[in-house]
Symmetry: C2
Subunit: 271 residues, 2 copies
């Protein structure tokens, strides 16, 4: 198969990574996309690194077997805990992840030499300090303030995006930054872009750059493919594979994507 025509593989612990798939579709409308959501074992953010690595390897192999030309890790927890393992298994197939892409966007867009950056994410992402380490290796002087926000994923999946409970919960979490003048805040979980309007409203400074890593990774993927002359100009399909399909999957996926899913397949014996 022609290398350009091979699909792009995207995976996440569940449906959160569909924000990445959506951004990739917007940036690269003629690429074929294969999305894998591990809905049988979601969420990853509360699990150990060892377990997350094991799951990530299984999904990477699944995508490689589908002949993907590039793998996008759309899950912050996997990006933080298992990127090296995915890269090793993927061999010559390039692997991008939301953390590196988010940090890259800050570097490109932030016109401040010694910035203060906030990071919100799942417990696992925050504990891994992956954003903190990546930012500190990029800037000689930087202050990084992290806050784990474990309730935001369930709130997003409940659909309480602009509910009073979401507002009160975010007010609580964003208190962590009340003494800071943030130059940027990273939405370090693929569910969080759904709360972007509320976060923007609640941040004390209106100047804070809000980094949506779904948009960042899509841009990095586009740059990479264009640079390698690897773009597909004739595709545009979207195939979705999940390890389990609860009744609400369709509804939630449509909330994330903003349109109906055309192809969903359940994969049970994929390991």
């Amino acid at each position: 198969m022609n290398n350009q025509k091979r699909p792009i593989g995207i995976f996440d612990s569940g449906i959160g990574g569909l924000t990445v798939a959506k951004a990739v579709k917007e940036a690269l409308p003629h690429e074929d996309i294969i999305y894998f959501g591990d809905t049988a074992r979601v969420p990853y953010g509360i699990k150990s690194e060892e377990t997350v690595r094991m799951y990530a390897m299984e999904i990477t192999q699944f995508l490689l077997d589908k002949g993907v030309k590039m793998i996008l890790i759309a899950c912050n927890t996997v990006s933080a805990s298992a990127k090296e393992d995915v890269v090793r298994l993927a061999g010559e197939v390039p692997v991008l992840d939301v953390i590196s892409s988010g940090v890259q966007t800050i570097k490109e867009e932030l016109r401040v030499s010694e910035p203060t950056v906030g990071v919100i994410g799942t417990l696992a992402t925050v504990r891994s300090e992956a954003y903190k380490k990546a930012l500190e290796s990029t800037y000689s002087q930087i202050q990084v303030v992290q806050e784990a926000c474990p309730l935001l994923v369930p709130l997003a999946e409940e659909g309480w995006i602009d509910h009073a409970v979401a507002r009160l919960t975010l007010e609580h979490y964003l208190q962590a930054f009340q003494d800071q003048s943030l130059d940027a805040i990273i939405l370090g979980c693929t569910h969080y872009p759904l709360f972007k309007p509320l976060i923007s409203e609640l941040l004390s400074s209106k100047e804070t750059l809000i980094i949506d890593s779904a948009v960042s990774i899509a841009r990095t993927a586009k740059d990479y493919l264009e640079h390698q002359d690897g773009c597909n100009n004739q595709g545009g399909s979207f195939s979705c594979y999940v390890s389990d399909r609860p009744q609400r999957f369709q509804e939630l996926a449509e909330r994330f994507l903003g349109h109906e899913l055309s192809h969903i397949e359940i994969v049970r014996d994929w390991t």
Copy 2:
């Protein structure tokens, strides 16, 4: 091994079932208990029946291999979706579940012939209508009002038991019962007893009987063993097996049990 001295097996999707283990330890302090929490695949409440059944069977086999004399399904989702499969696999080993036990308690304690009963639980438990069906087969005239409360488990795991967000969330969920005069409300998830004081405060009627299924199943287990002359008078150990052990497990387990865990073992290749 003497039948009386064999341990009691208790399992749940995660740590929620420790409320059951605690109630069993209080009711039967000289029993040896083996607890299995499927922390690598928690939560079950958002997953399909087929997947939940598969997980339940794997754990049942694990407990049978440990020589348990009785299995307590401490997970409402498994009780609703997979009890028949567990019973079939367990053969002569008796299986109790939180749903049957909760309904049994209502039957014994509620002095109303045509009651109105509220049920709160996970999405899967509510969708299964397992409590509703069990109640309707017990009473010739009954009104059952169900409400799924998916945010309560993450709130409990975040430790926001009496936080303003928990109050606002419960106020929202309990609105489902505002036009009812509830004779009883079933806390249809093993995490929910942690919110019992708040639920009690927020319910419009102070006469509503609050059914904690952890207490119910412990009482049913005690009755059964006493009736069969199957009690152990010399044990009292508590062994905890989990499929994954995130850093917060110990902390959360201690919040549930009210004391330190003495024996925890991670089981990765148990299927």
